[in-house]
């Protein structure tokens, strides 16, 4: 039954799922009374048709690489970390505290410090649900959802009462010192046509490094092997002497840390101060990205680029065709999650049957 070639599993099925999701999205656009083909053209052109578009597409993609990797690492240990949103919020707090604590002389010093700050705070926020799952058997999906809400309440409290600029009404921290400012695409890529408005910054390269790091961790280290073995079968892993509590906690700490790193891009790189909603749903997009990318770093990278283009293209779409509001992105995202995640077997079973039919024919 499961004699499907590997390429069909990693490429064909996600592509069919994506096409189905886009087809239903096209129906929604047609229902609103707009032309789906024209809408698609505007989106593609807006996302990757200019250096301006790329500057935003890659910026969004950077966020989604971090949150997608976070979900993917947890998936390998068969843990569903739905708390990327809260972990990224707390990561923002960590990054902001690091950036504001020291009058940083240069970004090369500020970046490693804020990477550590963001990852530590994100990991810390994942630690309690991880511990409760490992030790007390509390369902991690529910606890991480609850921790998302707790994180958002905590952040509102801190921004309104503690971190706000004295005398200001806006619930946000002061602007980070000049030395903590990360070089943007204009600084390192002006020759590619990037302008000052591009939010893309060096955090993109941190994200790429994380992709490589996660690949190495999962497929080239003992810990990665233990995480995968635990995810495949907990009894087998226990029998092989892999401690389940340790693996659950470590996988979730890595996952939370990766989600927290998103703040290096969004908080330090773009906003340059901590605002109330710095994550803007990227934690949830990470679920779609990890599902589409089959939890492989390369897949996550490609899916994150796709979703980055979707976000930037969607913004352009709303600008060009006001009848299609920004919520269209949310709908497309929902359909991608639905088809690649929940309705996967709907596509997989017929495709598998097709291939087993071929197999028999050849033999």
């Amino acid at each position: 039954m499961n004699k499907m070639p590997k390429w069909a599993d990693v490429a064909l099925i996600p592509v069919i799922n994506l096409i189905l999701a886009l087809a239903v999205s096209a129906l929604v656009i047609a229902y609103i009374g707009e032309n789906p083909v024209q809408a698609m053209k505007i989106m593609i052109n807006g996302a990757i048709g200019s250096a301006y578009g790329w500057g935003y597409t890659l910026y969004y993609a950077t966020n989604f690489i971090f949150t997608g990797l976070a979900v993917a690492v947890a998936f390998h240990a068969r843990l569903f970390n739905i708390g990327g949103e809260g972990q990224a919020l707390l990561g923002g707090l960590g990054v902001a505290l690091v950036c504001l604590a020291v009058p940083w002389p240069h970004w090369t010093l500020a970046l490693p410090a804020s990477v550590i700050g963001g990852a530590l705070f994100g990991a810390a926020w994942a630690a309690i649900p991880a511990y409760l799952q490992a030790k007390r058997g509390s369902h991690i999906v529910i606890t991480t959802i609850m921790f998302n809400f707790i994180a958002s309440a905590l952040l509102v409290y801190l921004l309104v009462n503690v971190l706000k600029v004295p005398g200001s009404m806006a619930p946000e921290t002061p602007r980070f010192p000049e030395g903590a400012r990360l070089p943007t695409a204009y600084d390192f890529g002006a020759w590619l046509g990037f302008t000052r408005s591009a939010p893309l910054n060096v955090a993109f390269f941190v994200a790429l490094a994380c992709c490589a790091g996660v690949w190495f961790l999962i497929w080239r280290t003992r810990l990665g092997y233990e995480i995968r073995a635990f995810g495949q079968s907990e009894p087998a892993a226990v029998y092989a002497g892999i401690p389940p509590v340790k693996i659950t906690v470590i996988a979730m700490l890595i996952s939370g840390g990766l989600a927290g790193l998103m703040a290096v891009n969004a908080v330090q790189g773009e906003a340059e101060r901590l605002i109330i909603d710095s994550v803007q749903g990227a934690g949830f997009v990470g679920i779609a990205v990890a599902l589409m990318g089959r939890s492989h770093p390369l897949g996550v990278l490609i899916a994150a680029l796709l979703f980055g283009a979707l976000y930037q293209g969607g913004a352009e779409l709303e600008f060009e065709i006001p009848a299609i509001s920004r919520e269209m992105i949310v709908v497309i995202q929902a359909l991608v999650i639905l088809f690649t995640g929940a309705l996967d077997n709907m596509v997989r079973a017929p495709v598998a049957r097709l291939f087993s039919g071929f197999g028999k024919g050849a033999a």
Partner: protein, 321 residues
């Protein structure tokens, strides 16, 4: 706090607990049958939009209620197809449904009414009016119980009373009927139910659709009872609070009523007071808002009475061949 303030607080607690109660009972049916549902929020939101839209167009809250339930039932059916027929991941399906509802309600709302995703404000019969229970004014003068009856219990829309009756109904169906016994069994050990010759798929679909119906009531009450029309994201996390209440209640109908009233009271307190003084310490509003979630984590952690979910929850059932 004088008696009047307390009465007003209790009155709004009951009002605010009602959508939670419907959604919590919805989750109760679904999860007792072994289908996790984190899409309560989305179903509630879709029901809120379609009930407000239909009520605005038709001028009747009842037409709105029907439309809201129909919308919620379709999303429930989608959840059923994904998680029962295609044995997909129930959690992921729930996440997708939440996003689908969040996006589609605003998109379609903008397309239909051109009000930035809102529906027109509802007036008159397009909303569920408050009704006075019999003898409310006569009994007013009875000490303590009189004001409790006439000011707290009386004077709500009909859906509030439907909500309270649903608790009794859910308890009866789940614990006093053959259907309920089988439904609970399918959430604990679907193999045994299958061996007994009862359709696991049928029972689970029934549970998921009951869940859809109750979420429809929750959403309709939100848009046509509690407020007057739909606004973007108006469910505001209530589906997740309901989920929290369900765990807090350890998947039992009467405890669900208690948990929802408690969380309703917390919301009412947060709405009325900016800060709450307790034993000389000032509690920030954000703590009040986060309290349902914190309490749920504490309960889940099992330090205060362990919450044990239905055993087969989240697992698709594969018939042995």
């Amino acid at each position: 706090m004088d008696l009047n303030t307390v009465l007003q607080l209790l009155d709004s607690s009951l009002r605010l607990a009602t959508p939670l109660l419907f959604a919590c009972l919805a989750g109760l049916f679904s999860e007792r049958a072994g289908i996790f549902d984190i899409g309560l929020e989305g179903k509630m939101l879709a029901a809120a939009f379609f009930s407000a839209a239909a009520a605005a167009v038709s001028g009747s809250a009842w037409v709105g209620l029907a439309a809201g339930c129909a919308a919620s039932l379709s999303l429930a059916a989608l959840h059923g197809v994904a998680s029962i027929t295609f044995r997909g991941n129930q959690l992921i399906s729930g996440v997708a449904i939440n996003f689908l509802a969040a996006g589609l309600t605003v998109l379609i709302g903008q397309n239909w009414f051109k009000l930035g995703g809102r529906t027109p404000p509802l007036q008159g019969d397009a909303r569920f009016q408050n009704i006075d229970l019999p003898l409310a004014s006569t009994l007013e003068s009875v000490p303590l119980l009189g004001p409790l009856y006439s000011q707290v219990l009386s004077g709500h829309s009909i859906l509030v009373y439907v909500g309270l009756l649903s608790v009794v109904g859910s308890w009866y169906v789940l614990f006093r009927t053959r259907f309920g016994l089988r439904l609970r069994a399918v959430g604990e050990n679907p193999g045994a139910v299958d061996t007994a010759g009862v359709s696991v798929v049928g029972l689970r679909y029934a549970a998921v659709l009951i869940c859809g119906l109750l979420c429809g009531l929750a959403g309709a009450y939100l848009a046509t009872g509690l407020s007057a029309g739909f606004v973007k994201d108006m469910s505001a996390g209530r589906g997740f609070i309901a989920l929290a209440a369900l765990i807090f209640a350890k998947w039992r109908p009467w405890s669900a009523l208690g948990a929802c009233l408690l969380f309703g009271l917390l919301e009412a307190l947060g709405n009325r007071f900016q800060t709450v003084e307790l034993a000389g310490v000032t509690l920030p509003t954000q703590l009040m808002q986060a309290l349902p979630y914190i309490l749920t984590v504490v309960i889940l952690a099992g330090f205060v009475g362990k919450a044990i979910p239905p055993r087969a929850g989240g697992e698709p059932y594969v018939k042995e061949r």
